[in-house]
């Protein structure tokens, strides 16, 4: 960050340098061109329903458009998450409200935001492509921002007291405190949550790029639209091409962005001693060693850093100011909420009054059906993932082979696989009623598997040895050692999986396929069809029902289980 004189990388040999520099330089040029191209396209005349080419030759351009959309949405999420978490953590008066809001927003499926977001953005820029694009971007944003905001908030809340005091006694300015204490402390949480969020973005890409809204058809050029077009026309070759392109992009992103990011974030660990196994990234290593990036660091990063962290010179430090600015911001926010919430509430109730009791009953039935499906998918996923996860986690050699494979399998967005699965289902003559459970499984089983693997790996060797020494039977071993040992991890996995399953219900219960709509009874299907047909009353009702259901299940089931896991089944070594 700031060692111009004695940068340690100087000592390392650098026989790569020229090639690396050329690559970095090329990457920068390409980046500039990409931004220019995007701007030109966004500022162009609006074409809400682009004609989606079916040739694989169009894929690079589509992948590029999708990537730009994802990047914009992600940056927006990052800024919003940091700001939201910061305000919530430092304003006691609004803290509780803001966190409750986060909790609820997290449980609202992406599609429910669609009509509002889309209409607002198109109204904002009616003549430019930008409006439609922004709509899609904000949509992706609503799917990935909440957990990031929550992560940054809880990081801020858990900064050790003495570090805070060290900043306070030395009178760090607010910006110095932010860049030298708060942001670094939150980085690890942000990086991991970013990965989860962006994966979620890929999951909903198809829904966010191509949809109907009332009588309007929206189709944005991109990978998601390509895949969906291929699926709805039953073009198997197209599906395979699209899927291949998406996997290629995801794998590239993982290698070029996320792995370097994880390796870089290692330095923000709070540990006091150096750990033996650090994540390494050859890309990060190359970047650090290149002339160009060093030049950027020296000319741009360091001066900026210096500007941010250094206070203006002063003789005697001033007596501490009261935080009036933060207080004003909090008060304004609270006031805005106090006006907006009742107004919107009245509007919502008026809207819901137009519904018939038949629709209400149908919604409750649909909720029951989706609930059953979510539960079923969790049970099925647990049935195979727990034994498999324990087997992998208990055997280091197997783990070494199986874990990376499972990670690649998990990084493929399940939605992209839907068409393939549906093809199989149609051939077998199955309907979407059962089929949607399989689709949910595709998206959620990994959460359980990964957590169980981590849990099994965390069981201390001594306990395993004790079980062998005392000749535990298989059943005894599972009951007294393995299940209690993995319990906290399993709960985490199940919570994430159930959230994912609810979200997946939207895309799994309602699908445009081979020129017709495949659908089944369910809350997700109801939300999707309400969006398609522009029935905002029904959309609102089903969204409220789903959010209520998710929040209630969290409170009634997952939170007590979490507490039990934390108090009784924590393995302290």
């Amino acid at each position: 960050m700031g060692f111009p004189l004695l940068a340690r990388s100087l000592i390392r040999e650098r026989n790569w340098s020229l090639l690396v520099d050329a690559l970095v330089f090329a990457a920068i040029l390409a980046g500039i061109y990409a931004v220019l191209a995007t701007v030109r396209y966004w500022m162009g005349v609006v074409t809400p329903a682009a004609h989606i080419l079916r040739s694989p030759a169009a894929l690079p351009a589509y992948a590029f458009y999708s990537l730009m959309r994802m990047a914009a949405a992600y940056l927006l999420s990052l800024v919003f998450a940091v700001a939201y978490g910061y305000i919530a953590a430092y304003n006691r008066r609004v803290e509780m409200v803001m966190i409750a809001v986060l909790d609820i927003l997290q449980s609202i499926p992406v599609l429910s935001f669609l009509p509002g977001v889309m209409l607002a953005m198109v109204a904002l820029f009616p003549t430019r492509q930008l409006g439609v694009e922004l709509g899609s971007i904000v949509l992706i944003f609503t799917g990935q921002v909440w957990n990031m905001a929550f992560s940054f908030y809880s990081s801020l809340k858990s900064i050790p007291r003495e570090l805070r005091e060290a900043a306070l006694i030395n009178r760090f300015s607010a910006t110095q405190r932010f860049v030298e204490l708060e942001l670094p402390f939150g980085t690890i949480g942000l990086v991991w949550n970013s990965i989860v969020s962006v994966a979620g973005g890929w999951f909903f890409l198809m829904a966010c790029e191509m949809f109907e809204l009332g009588h309007h058809d929206f189709r944005l050029p991109g990978l998601g639209s390509y895949l969906q077009t291929a699926a709805s026309t039953g073009d198997t070759a197209g599906i395979v091409w699209g899927l291949g392109a998406m996997i290629a992009v995801i794998v590239l992103l993982d290698q070029l962005v996320w792995r370097p990011a994880i390796a870089w974030s290692e330095k923000f660990k709070m540990e006091q001693v150096e750990s033996a196994s650090e994540v390494t990234s050859p890309i990060l290593h190359l970047l650090r060693n290149s002339e160009v990036s060093r030049w950027v660091e020296k000319r741009a990063v360091e001066p900026l850093w210096e500007r941010l962290t250094t206070s203006p010179p002063r003789e005697t430090p001033p007596i501490a100011r009261t935080r009036s600015r933060g207080r004003i911001a909090g008060a304004v926010l609270l006031l805005a909420l106090a006006v907006a919430v009742p107004y919107l509430l009245v509007k919502a109730v008026l809207l819901l009054k137009g519904l018939h009791s038949v629709e209400l009953l149908a919604t409750l039935q649909a909720a029951g059906a989706s609930f059953g499906r979510v539960a079923a998918s969790l049970v099925i996923a647990s049935l195979w993932a727990i034994p498999a996860g324990v087997a992998i986690g208990s055997n280091p050699r197997l783990a070494k082979v199986a874990q990376p494979l499972a990670q690649i399998a998990a990084s493929v967005p399940a939605t992209a696989l839907f068409p393939v699965v549906l093809l199989g289902l149609v051939r077998l003559g199955g309907g979407l009623g059962v089929g949607s459970i399989i689709l949910m499984l595709l998206g959620t089983q990994w959460y359980i598997l990964f957590n169980v693997i981590a849990g099994a790996m965390a069981i201390p060797t001594e306990l395993r040895e004790a079980a062998s020494v005392f000749h535990f039977t298989r059943w005894q071993r599972w009951r007294t050692l393995i299940l209690p040992g993995i319990f906290p991890y399993l709960v985490t996995g199940l919570v994430t999986a159930s959230g994912g399953a609810w979200n997946a219900s939207i895309v799994a219960e309602y699908f445009h396929f081979q020129g017709k709509i495949m659908t089944t009874l369910g809350l997700g299907a109801q939300i999707s069809s309400a969006t398609d047909s522009g029935n905002s009353e029904l959309l609102l009702l089903s969204t409220v029902v789903m959010a209520t259901l998710v929040v209630c299940v969290n409170r009634a089931v997952w939170r007590p289980l979490y507490r039990l896991a934390e108090s009784r089944f924590r393995l302290e070594s």
């Binding site: 060692f3 709070m270 206070s311």
Partner: protein, 447 residues
């Protein structure tokens, strides 16, 4: 040191309490304390006496609930203008290099980059960290980390240097080494700092370093004794005056109820009024196993020994040993006199008994402890012999902080379990185990 030395920080009737005005938990009773120029002041006291709270209020990190802190006669709002703190946990920023860590406070003061680096390198050199500028804290040993902590505190040339148990996270040799280097900087006038305020629980450390020692008592925190040590430094640990001073502090710490006799060389001795004890006596946090160990050890030494010797032989810090001594005395197993612990007949019987007999004896003795007695009675009087934890929480809430209430109950459960009087299930409910229900009732009746 002349008594007319210039005061830098003055605390006037500062108090700390939590909670509502009518049911508040007093952490620190109204206290006056002044930090004078030219002195190293050591603050000692058992855990829970508000040492850390005192440091935070004097440095301006925390505001007192009532009373005032003055910096050169001016009331303080927020951190004092020119002080630094060395923390027990080092509190270094793990993502900054050693150099960046030391430069951070200078940046906050708006010092230009070149000047900043010059000053940081100079101070790193003086604490022996030459060559480690670009290392990250996690690459350093504990002692080296604390050197960075010192460098970061000293680089701003603080007028008062606060230290919060700076050596207690280090091993004995490293701590000794750092202490003597600190004294070298101080006595050699190699740092512009005008006063040092150190919180510690290590009595010898206090006597090694300090010009003036203040001992706090607890429930709520208050000053028990405040005296000067006139011996020249470096001080010889075998010197009779050194040993005598250490002994004196031990005596004060082990007799929490007595107003201490003034120290033989009291210059500024301002002994505060007797302790204002809370209504509810606090249970010392000791385990039955630890108490048994202490009694066995005393039995081996003809039933009597100096507590200072015991701590020394066990390589225990005073903070670890005192709760055990206190617990044994509360149970009537020992008498504490003049820094000596003496076994009572009950204590002797306990030390010589086998496991099962010990539990019986402990059961009888534990009835002397108000909290144990109260829990036991409440449970025995209920038909199903059980009670939710909240009931006892509410009972203690008025007297202790939330955290301390939980600790009190935890200790009570440990004792209750050992005595087989009562237990607590995973939901936190207190209950009398089936087989114990009968005898517990009998015993309560017999007494």
């Amino acid at each position: 040191m002349t008594p007319a030395a210039e005061p830098i920080i003055e605390a006037r009737a500062i108090e700390k309490f939590y909670g509502l005005p009518h049911a508040r938990i007093q952490v620190l009773a109204a206290t006056d304390l002044t930090v004078y120029a030219g002195e190293i002041l050591a603050l000692l006291g058992p855990s829970g006496s508000g040492k850390s709270t005192m440091l935070r209020m004097l440095s301006g990190l925390a505001a007192p609930s009532s009373g005032q802190v003055l910096w050169h006669g001016q009331p303080v709002v927020g951190p004092c203008p020119n002080v630094s703190i060395v923390f027990q946990s080092f509190a270094l920023f793990p993502w900054l290099t050693v150099l960046d860590n030391v430069e951070a406070p200078l940046k906050a003061r708006g010092i230009a980059a070149t000047e900043r680096m010059k000053r940081a390198l100079r101070i790193l050199d003086s604490v022996g960290l030459d060559g480690f500028e670009l290392a990250y804290p996690k690459e350093l040993s504990g002692g080296m980390k604390q050197r960075v902590g010192f460098a970061r505190a000293l680089v701003v040339e603080p007028e008062v240097l606060f230290m919060d148990e700076p050596f207690s996270a280090l091993d004995v040799l490293t701590a000794e080494n750092l202490r003597s280097e600190l004294l070298e900087l101080w006595d050699g006038k190699k740092m512009p700092t005008r006063a040092v305020f150190i919180v510690t629980h290590n009595i010898e450390e206090a006597v090694t370093l300090a010009d003036r020692v203040v001992v706090l008592g607890k429930n709520p925190g208050h000053v028990r004794t405040d005296f000067r040590i006139a011996m020249p430094r470096p001080r010889d640990h075998q010197d009779p005056r050194f040993v005598e001073t250490v002994d004196y502090i031990y005596r004060v710490l082990t007799q929490p109820d007595l107003a201490p006799a003034p120290h033989p060389e009291p210059e500024a001795a301002a002994v505060a009024a007797g302790p204002a004890r809370g209504k509810y006596p606090m249970m010392p946090h000791a385990r039955p196993g630890g108490i048994a160990g202490l009694l066995e050890l005393l039995a081996d030494r003809e039933g009597r020994d100096d507590i200072y010797h015991l701590a020394d032989d066990l390589a225990f810090e005073i903070d670890d040993l005192l709760p055990i001594v206190e617990a044994a005395s509360l149970l009537g197993y020992i008498n504490v006199k003049e820094g000596d612990a003496e076994l009572t007949p009950e204590g002797k019987r306990f030390a010589e008994a086998g496991i099962l007999r010990r539990k019986e004896l402990f059961r009888v003795a534990a009835e002397r402890v108000p909290l144990i007695r109260q829990i036991n009675r409440s449970l025995a009087n209920k038909a199903d012999h059980s009670m939710p934890a909240d009931f006892f929480h509410d009972l203690l809430d008025e007297h202790f902080s939330e955290e301390e209430t939980e600790r009190q109950l935890e200790t009570a459960v440990t004792w209750g379990r050992y005595a087989e009087l009562f237990d607590r299930d995973s939901s936190g409910r207190f209950f009398i185990p089936e087989e114990a229900a009968q005898p517990a009732g009998d015993e309560a009746g017999n007494r």
